[in-house]
């Protein structure tokens, strides 16, 4: 297996796959020698390769684990070197049109399978990688009508061996769901931080009085900026639709406050408790 991009997710994939003996040797490709060297010493990869062609030419399975905005570029670069029957997969938080694009880019002698392990930490980089990151998490695979069933089976089996619960979704449905449960929450947290810079708020220097409420939100702000830029841009359509629904919810709550509708607020809070219960059970 070759991992393109040995950061938090790529590094954790290597660590977990090696621990589970789920693959043969693990090769890492990246741009920074220091980080790759670190990945070897952490046992996340067996060896690294700073030449893309050499990194992929012997691989049965190549996993794209760079920010999603770079997948197209990397796949274009590696196609000439993919061996017969090679499988290309990914770990991206966006699927939809991207899966279509990557499937089309994959040469006829290879197979593309979209996958997304729903796992992450507030830290990024290979130093934050752990071999248990995917244990108990959901990994969504997003086959299309063109997806090779054997390749799909191979990718699913790998994630299952790493302890993930593998589930199948249509690529576009995946994006709408992730917009709601992951991309929107991140966007809200960023918007909250941005509000604290607002000219009407910042002069109060509120941050020095930060309470638990704010602390929970700032955790998200520790994530990789490049990764989230790519996710927001790649999942533009589903995310905008979700933001609009969210803005309606904020306006609805605002109206209840303005009209002092206490019972209406309680109703919303009880609805939130129901969601919490479902999340804790999921």
């Amino acid at each position: 297996m070759t991992i393109i991009g040995v950061g938090l997710i790529g590094g954790s994939l290597g660590l977990a796959a090696k621990q589970a003996k789920a693959v043969g040797s693990v090769v890492g490709y990246g741009r920074r020698r220091g980080a790759l060297h670190k990945a070897v010493s952490l046992n996340a990869i067996d060896r690294y390769c700073m030449s893309l062609s050499k990194a992929v030419e012997c691989a049965d399975l190549v996993v794209l684990a760079t920010p999603v905005g770079t997948y197209e570029k990397f796949l274009s670069m590696i196609t000439p070197y993919l061996k017969e029957g090679a499988i290309v997969s990914d770990v991206g938080s966006v699927k939809g049109a991207l899966v279509e694009t990557l499937s089309k880019l994959t040469p006829p002698h290879a197979h593309f399978v979209g996958a997304h392990p729903i796992a992450g930490r507030e830290k990024s980089g290979v130093l934050a990688a752990t071999g248990t990151l995917f244990r108990g998490c959901s990994t969504i695979v997003t086959p299309t009508e063109q997806t090779d069933p054997n390749a799909l089976e191979r990718v699913s089996a790998l994630w299952e061996k790493l302890g993930a619960k593998v589930r199948t979704l249509d690529p576009f449905e995946h994006d709408r769901i992730l917009a709601a449960v992951s991309h929107l929450p991140h966007l809200l947290a960023y918007a909250l931080m941005e509000t604290l810079h607002h000219p009407r708020i910042a002069p109060l220097d509120p941050v020095q009085y930060s309470a638990g409420g704010l602390r929970d939100f700032t955790r998200i702000a520790g994530s990789s900026a490049e990764m989230w830029r790519d996710i927001f841009l790649q999942n533009k359509d589903a995310l905008i639709e979700t933001i609009d629904a969210y803005q309606e919810s904020v306006e609805a709550i605002k109206k209840k406050i303005m009209s002092e509708d206490g019972d209406g607020l309680i109703e919303i809070f009880e609805g939130a408790k129901a969601i919490r219960k479902k999340v804790l059970e999921s």
Copy 2:
């Protein structure tokens, strides 16, 4: 000391004050005998009293620790029974006009001092109370020109003994700051949960794919609904102003996504990191 309302905050205040030997005996008032009985067995109060007059008639210090929407009612009910020189304080998350109202309601032979320990947990009720809840947290006192300096000193000294860092703010400035760092974050979390009930989102059943992003937010939904209803309604003006600033921030991010302004997004994410750093240092 008499505590009106022995829930998470009232119970923790009793526990901490008794552990620090900061006050004489601690009397608890409440409506539910079972909870009061529990509070005694947890050592949060020395004894309970279900008659308001009897609960306060011997107290040097009476602390209101019910939802903020009930302070006015409770203070009106206890004024005839307050002894000469008694201090009335509170633990409410809203100050502003409420401090004015409560100060005016306090009879001339007693003193009102507004206080707000910025502490909380995702659980409510006396079973969640701990004697260390206020250690290292900020407690804001909100004196006005009419506040008796000795009473202010007494209340400040109590919170310091419990390990809190006591800080002074104008009651209205307090409300604007708390709207930004606490009330708005809670509102956003509730709005997010409400979005998951949105007719365009709910059919996807997204919650079963919940990621870390969503989990962080649902913690907030475990808080007391009555408490948050009262906070939102009592801090209406500052909160609406803050919601408007926030909606502008969401719109700004939305625009950057729509115009595919990746650098603009990165700028926002970096700003968020700066806030995170400040929060972690505060």
